[in-house]
């Protein structure tokens, strides 16, 4: 039948074409190395001039675009931004996706904000590269772009407001767990999404810290992913303890994960025997610290992080800074900050919370 013959001919044609294309391009074409070389020459773009004494503008609109709306951590940090903006006489708004891994949704929100002609966007990026085109488009349309909590590539935003250096956070969490388990035994990591930029950076520093000779008796057995979902993190904790009966400690560098893990441990026979540390909020963890499930954990103050992001956006929009290394600006009662390498501003060292000090913090 003619259909059969035609199908055969089509298949053959497809195969030949593919072979030809593959053959023709195998020795030429654009590879990763070519692209990197091209990018480097184009990367150095001149930023505008900054005047540190320029007046702080009022009546601006700054939009917060967290990784995920209705996530308690981001609610706290965005509320910090809201308070700071109100004090500065500007308007706050918050938009975002309900899933923490919906990158295309985040891109749409950046595009929408560009359309709505907001003055500044403070965004916590779900992915370092996915927002780039949209954010560059926003900056071209006069929007100041600040990343907070989780960064994009450096040329896709004006300033990154970092919660503490990634290196500090990664290393101190290992130091915490080592102290709690007496420098000996198996440990595991319970992270958020497998693609979360900040989580993976911290985990890399944790692994690097573990290479030091004083941790030679500590063995990192696995990294589990709870996707910042309470139920999934709970089940992952359960799974970790079943698969690794000799487990001595868990590091969970995510507020949702550490809470779920603590919830599981406190109701199980492992309570107090398997140590848990990581990044959590005092409100979430207070009960578990008091009932002996958790000795100590750490975090920065997310409200301050949001406030600093808001101050940074306003300073950019007022022309006090342009995002270059060495520029300084005032951020209300948070004090004075200096922009570091690659346009990164750091909030400071993480705070360790334990039985003694946890009641001083309410967030």
């Amino acid at each position: 039948m003619s259909v059969t013959a035609r199908t055969r001919r089509l298949t053959a044609a497809l195969a030949v074409t593919t072979a030809l294309v593959v053959g023709a391009t195998a020795c030429g074409g654009t590879t990763k190395d070519d692209a990197n070389a091209a990018d480097k020459s184009a990367a150095k773009s001149a930023a505008g001039k900054a005047d540190p004494n320029a007046a702080t503008k009022k009546g601006l609109t700054v939009a917060f675009l967290p990784k995920q709306v209705n996530n308690p951590y981001f609610t706290t940090s965005d509320n910090g931004g809201k308070k700071a903006l109100q004090e500065l006489g500007s308007t706050y708004k918050e938009v975002g996706t309900s899933s923490g891994t919906d990158t295309s949704g985040q891109v749409s929100y950046v595009n929408t904000l560009t359309q709505q002609q907001v003055d500044g966007i403070a965004v916590s990026a779900q992915d370092p590269g996915a927002l780039c085109t949209a954010l560059k488009q926003a900056m071209k349309n006069g929007v100041s772009v600040v990343t907070y909590d989780s960064d994009t590539k450096a040329d896709c935003r004006n300033v990154f407001v970092s919660q503490a250096s990634a290196e500090d956070l990664g290393r101190t969490q290992v130091q915490q767990i080592a102290k709690q388990i007496g420098n000996k035994g198996e440990i595991a990591i319970l992270s958020a999404a497998q693609t979360a930029t900040n989580q993976n950076t911290w985990i890399d520093y944790m692994k690097d810290e573990l290479k030091k000779p004083e941790y030679k008796d500590i063995k990192l057995v696995t990294t589990a992913y709870g996707d910042d979902d309470a139920q999934k993190s709970f089940q992952q904790t359960q799974g970790l303890l079943q698969e690794h009966p000799k487990l001595k400690g868990i590091i969970s560098p995510t507020t949702v994960g550490i809470k779920a893990a603590a919830q599981y441990l406190s109701g199980s026979k492992y309570k107090g025997k398997v140590k848990l540390t990581g990044l959590g909020t005092p409100n979430d963890m207070r009960a578990y610290v008091k009932n002996g499930t958790v000795d100590a954990f750490e975090l920065w103050d997310p409200a301050k992080l949001g406030a600093l992001a808001a101050h940074t956006a306003v300073a950019l929009e007022s022309g006090q800074i342009s995002g270059k290394e060495g520029e300084t600006y005032k951020a209300g009662d948070l004090g004075e900050f200096t922009i570091g390498k690659d346009g990164v501003v750091s909030l400071g060292k993480p705070t360790v919370f334990d039985k003694k000090n946890i009641d001083q913090y309410k967030f």
Binding site: V22, G29, K32, N36, V95, T97, T101, G105, T195, N200
Partner: protein, 339 residues
């Protein structure tokens, strides 16, 4: 199916298509006049760019659904194609080699689905739920938690850019060509007529000499190919190749296709309706975002629309049928129609 009934259902399907098209035009007109910042070229180009992945896959999906099958693995195939693209790029292969390989991979994915459905006679819903999970899993094995973003800038510009200051994204051009091909194939060739025949009554189509299995297999392969193409476009448009790219895309596509009046039981629908459905959902989403409607409420609106779109043609058909029955009961019996 008696001729009178067939004519009735055909009419109601056509009416639904037209209704969706009209609704799209009304929505666009209202948005242009009343929604701030909707009408400017940049926003319209965003709208089209964000809707293109759904529109691309809607082309073969429309044909599949018309022939009575469905493919739920399209989002995963797109994700897998993006993941392979990222992994090969990281290994230093040229992008001009990678893209044809990704498309070939899409063909293989479609072939697997098609063979399982046509050779083993399994229901496509079950098969593609399985491969949806499998392809996504392979994508995760291939690329892991990496996200590859450093594709050559001319390709990224093609994925996200537009012609000058107009509202037309570069990527719209190949889409229009593919759309034209799809319209001709479905509505003006024997292949298209055979697809409708299979969807309406597979047994009858087989007896009429339609090579049912072969045709279905080629539809699955086409769907895989276009899903892989969408995966490549997605990675370039959002400048990010990740294993979880295009998660949930299959649902958006099916929602849009159903909204466009394609009958889920097969045998009925038009490509015009499907594309109107795709852009109706896309525009609605864009407008709601500009109006600061929360993401949660947007999902509710989309869901309600979908239920209405599945219900409305059926209710319309029921009414038409009961009216016809009343008429035949009242009138003297007509001469038997030729069968």
């Amino acid at each position: 199916m008696p001729d009178s009934l067939k004519a009735d259902s055909l009419k109601s399907a056509v009416r639904w298509d037209t209704a969706v098209g009209a609704l799209l035009i009304v929505l666009l007109l209202c948005s242009f006049s009343f929604v701030d910042n909707f009408g400017n070229a940049l926003n319209v180009s965003f709208l089209i760019g964000n809707t293109l992945p759904i529109a691309l896959i809607a082309l073969p999906m429309t044909m599949l659904v018309i022939s009575g099958e469905v493919d739920l693995s399209v989002g995963s195939t797109a994700g897998l194609s993006g993941a392979v693209m990222g992994a090969l790029w990281n290994n230093g292969m040229a992008i001009e080699t990678i893209i044809p390989l990704c498309l070939l991979l899409g063909v293989v994915c479609g072939l697997v689905n098609g063979l399982l459905v046509t050779r083993l006679g399994l229901p496509s819903l079950a098969v593609t739920i399985g491969t949806m999970a499998a392809y996504r899993g392979i994508a995760q094995i291939v690329l892991g938690s990496d996200s590859v973003t450093d594709f050559p800038s001319q390709y990224l510009d093609f994925g996200a850019g537009r012609f000058g200051d107009t509202f037309v994204p570069y990527a719209a051009l190949p889409f229009v060509i593919l759309l034209a091909i799809a319209v001709v194939v479905l509505h003006a060739t024997r292949v298209g007529r055979s697809l409708f025949a299979i969807g309406a009554n597979e047994e009858a189509a087989r007896f009429a000499g339609v090579r049912v299995k072969r045709l279905k297999l080629s539809m699955f392969v086409t769907t895989g190919l276009l899903s892989a193409l969408t995966g490549v476009f997605w990675a370039l448009h959002y400048a990010s190749a990740r294993y979880d790219n295009a998660t949930g895309l299959e649902l958006s596509v099916i929602a849009a296709v159903l909204l466009g009046g394609i009958d889920f039981d097969g045998g009925r629908g038009t490509l015009g309706g499907a594309i109107a459905g795709v852009f109706l959902l896309g525009s609605l989403q864009n407008v709601m975002s500009l109006l600061n409607v929360s993401a949660q409420s947007q999902i509710v609106v989309t869901g309600v629309l979908l239920v209405i779109s599945v219900l409305a043609p059926r209710v319309g058909r029921q009414i038409a049928r009961s009216r016809a029955r009343r008429r035949t009961a009242a009138a003297p019996p007509p001469a038997p129609a030729a069968g």
